[in-house]
């Protein structure tokens, strides 16, 4: 169970990072 919890949190963190990087790129594009 602990291993699954860690995996879930790791996936969540990775997803958030990807989303934020995309968000930063999009915003920078619009700021030009």
């Amino acid at each position: 169970a602990l291993k699954d919890d860690v995996n879930i949190l790791l996936d969540k963190a990775r997803l958030e990072s990807q989303e934020s990087i995309g968000f930063i790129k999009a915003t920078k594009l619009l700021m030009k």
Binding site: L2, D5, K12, E16, S20, F23, T27, L29, L30, M31
Partner: protein, 105 residues
Amino acid sequence: MLQKADSDLGYIQYRLECEIKTNHPDSAVEKNPVTLLKELSAIKSRYQTLYAHFKPIASEQKETKSRIYTTLNKTMAMIQELQKHTDVELSSLTEEEKTVTEQLK
């Protein structure tokens, strides 16, 4: 009496662990049950620490992104306002910019 009970319990635990370590000494391949038990509780508390650390970072990230989105909206509205006042026709959003605006929504 309570203190004596507490120290007796501590001693029983200590003797039990010594017995297990003597009967099953840690080897390179295998660890004795007591070591594993301690490692199990160590990784549990490490996970809880990391989770507690992660939560505020994630919520701060959400808050900053919504602030960025709000400011972006205000800026674009203000630029359109400017266009009206000055009759300066700025280049309309490219397809890519339109897609990106949708994405941000």
